[in-house]
């Protein structure tokens, strides 16, 4: 039972952790490119912010899945 609990928590952690890492990696690539664009065209600020925010969906969906795993596991 204890082992099952550990797997549950590990699954939940991975469900949010891996997408968060992926989001971080994607943002690390988008961020410098967005900064470079803004240096030349400051009027594209909104586009740049949106481009940076787009990968966050993955982390957020990971968070939702993680919460659902915990809730399902908890009965």
């Amino acid at each position: 039972m204890e082992m099952e609990g550990s797997w549950l928590y590990l699954s939940a952690a991975l469900a949010v952790g891996i997408p968060a890492l992926a989001t971080g990696w994607a943002q690390s690539r988008i961020g410098p490119a967005a900064a470079a664009i803004l240096a030349e065209k400051p009027e594209l600020t909104v586009t740049a912010v949106l481009l940076i925010a787009i990968p966050e969906t993955v982390a957020i969906l990971g968070f939702v899945v993680s919460v659902l795993i915990l809730l399902q596991g908890g009965g």
Partner: protein, 626 residues
């Protein structure tokens, strides 16, 4: 909404060209465009004399702009008065004032630089002065002023040892700690040993202090004394500059403001003139005006020029909608949210203005995510602060009003969730009305996704409305997609027993029946588009994710109060954590809710590419104010 525009043509005799433009400028509603040329109608070309005049006007306007910028806040802007200055008079005033202010500004900058230079050296000089005035006989002696960095004891020892082995007893070294923690030192050697001493200092890694150029030749003690005297004089010198600047502002500020306004108006008139097409006797202008204001323009021109000037409406069949400038006109309550719409390119003329929808959904989503009476009240206080510090019709004022709307929704949803600084509300007797976000994660997720369905369906319907005028087949496809999203949502509810299970099969059959129509209307890529739309709906889960993170952080902050030994320390930690959470809880929903508007919602209907409405009107110093 986007105002209905009329394309007009203004015709009149050449001798009335400038007066007509002046009347139109007074009204300030006509957006001129380049007029179409024909064999008979050619573009108005400025004569060499007019070109020269234009260059002069530009130069004087630049002088006035620079002078007013240098005067800063002290520039007083007068109303336009009947009396007017000639261009040479204006040039004289603007040119002289600009030169006087630039001289003052240069002098002020020099004095500031001098002061910061002296302040940089001051801690060492006060120390050197104490050493140097202690009765040394300086004839035939070379003095080195040295600064030893903090913790530079090793350098000092190395230097002493090197000096002793090279110069024997032929040197004196005084050191005294300065206020900065560094040590000020004076090394005195005979003039004959100066070169050797310099080399030794360099080897020991100790840098002599380099005096500012303007003080260098005066000798150390005099330099110190003079610098200290200058430090006392500088504030007075700066005050004198400020007094002189204020005198100029009082004397010429009103004239400058008048010159600036009238010359910018004049420049705008000349630039607009170049958009006219003319015959030897007549001129023709083309432009846009809000349809509701066309009658007013006709009345004014009729009153001023009788029947000599004609305003003609160009029928809609003769122009394309994309060319019309876009004027967003919304009720007062929605107007601040135009700032959010305007962060994207303007919507195309004839399409839907998303501002009213943004004004409802953005603060609502924000409030659902933040949902806390305490944080909402704090946000309201911050927004009110910004409101009182901002000027009307500026971006900052719009931000404050959007902040207030978000705060209001946060407080309302705070009541519904029973949250006041997290779970503090529960402890004080507040009870959740709809659900507690700490426990009811799944209902919260359901609420977020339901809102997503509503928002996306509205977006798809607006898209259908936008497309209906041009491409009816795609409009039907877009409407079909909206219906299918609703059917999918209902089918899922039936599958999860939120609706009676018997609805499931008819809903799936309806979906399958609509599928071919969707493909015919939107093409073979329509199914992929539909899946992407479902993905867009799932994206609204972020409302729940951001909201849950916010409430959990607040709960953690409250627990800190009891988790540390002392009540006071715990309370301080809790307050600090709440403050951090407040900042994060305002920033994060703002970004995410903006994204929901721009990516998920706008993506379904928004057609950018609208032309900015730039009416020909009187110049205003507030243009571009933030």
């Amino acid at each position: 909404m986007i105002l209905d525009m009329s394309r007009i043509r203004v015709l009149g005799p050449m001798e009335e060209l400038q007066p007509v433009l002046e009347r139109i400028q007074d009204l300030g509603l006509v957006h001129f465009v380049e007029s179409a040329q024909t064999d008979a109608l050619t573009q108005l070309v400025l004569t060499p004399h007019q070109e020269r005049h234009l260059r002069n006007v530009r130069q004087v306007a630049e002088d006035a702009d620079t002078a007013i910028n240098l005067l800063g806040e002290t520039a007083t802007l007068s109303r336009r008065t009947a009396e007017s200055l000639t261009l040479p008079q204006a040039a004289l005033i603007a040119g002289r004032t600009r030169r006087a202010l630039e001289t003052l500004e240069d002098r002020r900058r020099q004095l500031e630089e001098e002061r910061s230079l002296i302040l940089k050296f001051q801690p060492f000089f006060s120390t050197f002065e104490k050493i140097a005035t202690s009765g040394l006989d300086l004839d035939g002696i070379r003095i080195f002023y040295l600064v030893l960095r903090v913790g530079g004891e090793q350098e000092l020892l190395r230097m002493r040892a090197a000096l002793r082995s090279s110069l024997g007893e032929g040197f004196e070294l005084f050191s005294q700690p300065a206020a900065s923690g560094e040590s000020a030192m004076i090394l005195a050697v005979s003039a004959a040993d100066a070169q050797r001493a310099e080399a030794l200092l360099s080897e020991a890694g100790v840098q002599p202090l380099v005096l500012p150029d303007q003080f260098r030749e005066e000798g150390a003690i005099h330099t110190i004394q003079r610098m200290q005297a200058r430090l006392k004089e500088l504030p007075q010198d700066l005050v004198e500059i400020e007094v002189e600047r204020n005198r100029i502002a009082a004397e010429r500020g009103r004239d400058l403001a008048r010159i600036q306004a009238s010359l910018h108006d004049h420049l705008a008139t000349i630039t607009t003139m170049e958009k006219a097409v003319v015959t030897p006797r007549a001129f023709v202008f083309e432009g846009w005006i809000p349809s509701a204001a066309r009658g007013e323009l006709e009345r004014r021109l009729q009153k001023s020029f009788g029947g000599k000037v004609e305003v003609e409406r160009i029928s809609k069949e003769e122009w394309e909608g994309e060319l019309a400038p876009v004027v967003l006109k919304n009720p007062r309550l929605f107007r601040p949210f135009e700032a959010i719409t305007r962060m994207m390119p303007l919507p195309r003329y004839g399409s839907v203005d998303p501002t009213p929808f943004v004004a409802v959904f953005f603060p609502m989503f924000f409030g659902i995510a933040l949902g806390d009476i305490g944080y909402g009240a704090l946000l309201a206080a911050v927004s009110l602060g910004i409101r009182f510090r901002s000027r009307p019709d500026t971006k900052l004022r719009a931000v404050s009003q959007i902040g207030l709307a978000c705060a209001l929704f946060s407080i309302v949803f705070g009541f519904l969730y029973g949250e006041l600084f997290g779970d503090l509300g529960h402890r004080l007797g507040l009870h959740p009305i709809i659900f507690s976000r700490e426990e009811a994660v799944v209902p919260f997720l359901g609420l977020a996704l339901a809102l997503g369905v509503v928002h996306i369906v509205i977006g798809l319907c607006l898209g259908a409305v936008n497309l209906f005028r041009g491409d009816k087949r795609h409009a039907i496809g877009r409407a079909m997609a909206a219906v299918m999203v609703v059917l999918i949502a209902l089918a899922l509810m039936a599958a999860f027993e939120m609706l009676p299970g018997r609805f499931f099969t008819p809903l799936v059959i309806a979906l399958l029946a609509l599928f071919p129509i969707l493909i015919v209307a939107e093409g073979v890529l329509a199914p992929i588009e539909l899946v992407s739309t479902i993905g867009n709906v799932l994206s609204y889960a972020r409302i729940m994710a951001v909201g849950t993170a916010s409430v959990m952080m607040a709960v953690a902050a409250n627990r800190m109060a009891g988790a540390f030994g002392g009540v006071f320390v715990g309370l301080m930690f809790a307050l600090l954590f709440h403050l951090i959470n407040f900042v994060l809880s305002v920033f994060s929903p703002t970004i995410h809710m903006l994204r929901l508007q721009y990516v998920e919602f706008f993506g379904k209907f928004f057609s950018p590419g609208g032309v900015e409405y730039q009416p020909f009107r009187h110049w205003s110093p507030r243009e571009g104010a933030v």
